[in-house]
């Protein structure tokens, strides 16, 4: 295993980017996200800029861990939203439009709905619903990122974010 890691490092590839099936993967491969940038598809350029700013405000870097920006969470969520059901797309499109207007009065004013106490059903107003959804999505996209795993691997011996994956049945 150590020899394999050395080989990967000679190839300039991070072990986290390798296929996990050591018994089957004779030729090392890497995920596209590790070496290239996803192209925006869902948001327009101004919307994407605001969305990225929102992400970094909600989930900034903390205590040596990457924030949403470092984890490329905005780019990933843009891709995810491009494939999401219509009601989710509408929620985010309208939400980011409202955020663009509201942030003129300052970020805190734009995010005041997030100070409402938790309820199981979540907020009913669309903008508050958008903010809550975006907060959770940015958080998950950040802690499930390659950048997060690499940062955590230097702090803990536990295998962060590794799970038992069901292969396609056929």
């Amino acid at each position: 295993m150590q020899r394999r890691s050395i080989l990967y490092s000679m190839l300039g590839l991070a072990p986290a980017a390798m296929g996990w099936q050591s018994s089957d993967a004779q030729i090392p491969t890497t995920a596209a996200e590790a070496v290239s940038m996803g192209l925006p598809k869902f948001f327009s350029a101004p919307e994407m800029e605001a969305f990225a700013e929102l992400g970094q405000t909600l989930i900034p870097p903390f205590d040596g861990r990457p924030g949403a920006k470092e984890a490329e969470a905005p780019e990933f969520l843009d891709f995810l939203l491009g494939q999401s059901p219509n009601e989710i797309q509408v929620l985010y499109k309208q939400g980011i439009a409202t955020y663009l207007l509201r942030r003129k009065a300052g970020v805190d004013a734009a995010l005041k709905e997030l100070s409402e106490p938790w309820t199981y059903a979540g907020p009913s107003a669309p903008y508050a619903k958008f903010l809550q959804a975006a907060k959770l999505a940015f958080h998950q996209a950040t802690i499930n990122s390659r950048q997060w795993a690499e940062a955590m691997s230097t702090r803990s011996r536990s295998a962060a974010g590794i799970g038992s994956y069901w292969l396609p049945v056929e």
Binding site: A16, A17, W20, Q21, A31, E33, T57, L58, I59, P60, F62, D63, F76, L80, Q83, S84, P85, I88, L111, L114, S115, E116, P117, W118, T119, Y120, A121, Q132, K135, L136, H139, Q140, A141, N144, S145, R146, W148, A149, G161, I162, G163, S164, Y165, W166, L167, P168, V169, E170
Partner: protein, 520 residues
């Protein structure tokens, strides 16, 4: 000329697997049809970092609108909702969660293994609602006693009448300090507690515990990818003669013949097959009395204050337990009948949704409560009602051209009152244990989401009001048995799999006895 088998078993999960295990060992030549492919769980699963998954663990959007349990790691295990559609009224969503693989839902079940008691079997005698089962707890004891060792159920004997003790591997594990505090609070409030009772082992599935023994007898022929369209019947005798099925991959049509048929295709699939076959419904109740167990997930999310800031002393956090039903046993609640149970656990980290903050403040709050959580989930009894039912929707078919189910189930005032009571009680128990309440609610998950769907093909002594007799044999067709959760008359708050296994064992032995007497 193809073989005519002694018994055709449809389904390979808990009930189908148990039927095969029993019938083949008693010498019956059986054929088993399962709608899904055969898998090897060891080769089917691999370790993967979440960051290497295409959707970072979110899963492909819209793939499983009704399977909240599905994440990107497990997505390939669940039945495809587009190939296997169903319908419901838009105002009453039903979450039908299915696995179509050999082994069925036993590949992924929670393994909680509780016995029912006469609070369920004789529920009408106790509170006047609904109907009694045609059997009593004592009738099922010998079968529970044989199923528990097979599934290696561990737990602690407590002498509670509502969850009778069984043949258990003793659980001698010690409780953490926070769990001890919670148990003391429960004792003060006269709320019973115990360890979980769970099937143990690396895999506790039909695939490794039941089917290999059945195969080893040489009496079982297993046909995967066989989607049953309907059962066939001899109009002269009224007996079923086999099943028409479709190969899942090629869509070629087949027919298989058998002297008897055992349906164990899962609660709603078995009823769907009967409804599509126009069989076993002289009573008119086939499809009716659908119920499940309602869940209130994380009804209370609390924090153990001494564990804040990563300062938990050794042995403070970790572990959990179970609170069996305690309402309406010896005394009566004014707001509802029947009762609910809780699972509780400690050491979790509350998610970001619970905090009214963002940015650095959110990170600090989450870091402060890391590993300091204590939470409970409510599992409540749902009353079986005629108005909750499934029927065939002839306007829609699945990927094999088979008409699908329309499902209608609503929770009623009794379940709502129970859910609210469970929130208030959990809050009181946590506060008296010295825990801080972070969040509480009493919103039930939609019907079906607990994956404990029951009824629609219920047992009973009267053929006019039930589909099956006390041995899971249809009143209308002597050689047709239904052995899964559809046979339940009531369900309590206990997870149903252990009872499904015990009922199937009993029904299968009865089938052989009757076959020997030429009574089928």
């Amino acid at each position: 000329m193809k073989t005519e088998y002694d018994v055709l078993i449809i389904g390979s999960g808990a009930s189908g697997g148990m039927a095969a295990h029993t019938l083949t060992r008693l010498g019956a030549k059986c054929i088993m049809l399962d709608a899904g492919p055969m898998i090897d769980p060891d080769k089917q699963r691999v370790l993967r970092p979440v960051a290497d998954l295409p959707y970072r663990g979110f899963g492909k959007p819209g793939r499983f609108p009704h399977v909240t349990q599905a994440n990107e790691f497990s997505a390939n295990m669940w039945a495809d909702e587009k190939q296997n559609p169903y319908t419901y009224d838009p105002g009453n969503p039903y979450y039908w969660v299915r696995i179509r693989l050999v082994g069925g839902k036993t590949l992924a079940w929670g393994r909680a293994s509780w016995r029912l008691s006469d609070y369920e079997f004789k529920c009408k005698d106790h509170d006047g609602f609904g109907d009694n089962w045609p059997i009593a707890y004592k009738d099922l004891v010998p079968f529970y006693d044989r199923v528990e060792p097979l599934f290696r159920v561990s737990g602690r004997k407590e002498g509670f009448e509502q969850i009778p003790d069984g043949v258990l591997l003793p659980d001698e594990s010690r409780d953490s300090l926070c769990v001890q505090r919670f148990l003391a609070s429960c004792k003060k409030h006269e709320v019973p507690t115990t360890k979980q009772r769970r099937s143990t082992g690396t895999l506790a599935s039909s695939l490794n515990l039941l089917l290999p023994d059945a195969i080893a007898t040489g009496n079982l022929t297993l046909v995967p990818n066989a989607v049953v369209r309907e059962l066939s019947r001899d109009k002269a005798t009224g007996k079923v003669t086999g099943a028409h099925f479709v190969d899942r991959v090629s869509k070629r049509e087949f027919h298989v013949k058998a002297k008897a048929v055992v349906l164990g295709a899962s609660c709603l699939e078995s009823t769907r097959i009967l409804l599509n076959s126009k069989l076993a419904n002289s009573s008119g109740v086939l499809g009716h009395y659908l119920f499940d167990q309602f869940y209130v997930k994380n009804v209370v999310q609390a924090i153990v204050p001494e564990a804040r800031g990563g300062n938990a002393p050794r042995n403070l956090m970790g572990g959990g337990g179970y609170i069996p039903r305690f309402r309406n046993l010896k005394s009566k609640s004014k707001d509802f009948i029947r009762g609910y149970a809780y699972d509780f656990g400690s050491g979790n980290t509350p998610g970001p949704q619970y905090y009214s903050s963002y940015g650095e403040k959110l990170w600090k709050q989450m870091a402060d409560s890391q590993g300091a959580g204590f939470s409970l989930t409510t599992m409540g009894e749902v009353l079986p009602r005629f108005e909750s039912f499934v029927r065939i929707n002839r306007m829609k078919t699945d990927a094999w051209g088979i008409p699908v189910l329309h499902i209608q189930q609503k929770y009623t005032a009794n379940e709502f009152a129970m859910a609210k009571d469970s929130m208030n009680t959990a809050e009181e128990l946590c506060k008296d244990a010295g825990f801080e309440i972070l969040a509480k609610h009493w919103e039930m998950v939609p019907p079906g989401e607990s994956i404990h769907e029951l009824g629609t093909c219920r047992m009973g002594s009267d053929p006019k009001t039930s589909v099956l007799n006390q041995f899971n044999q249809t009143h209308d067709h002597k050689n047709l048995f239904v052995v899964d959760g559809s046979s339940f008359v009531s369900g309590g708050a206990q997870n149903p799999t252990l009872t499904i296994l015990a009922l199937t064992l009993r029904a299968s032995e009865y089938l052989i006895e009757q076959a020997k007497k030429n009574n089928l």
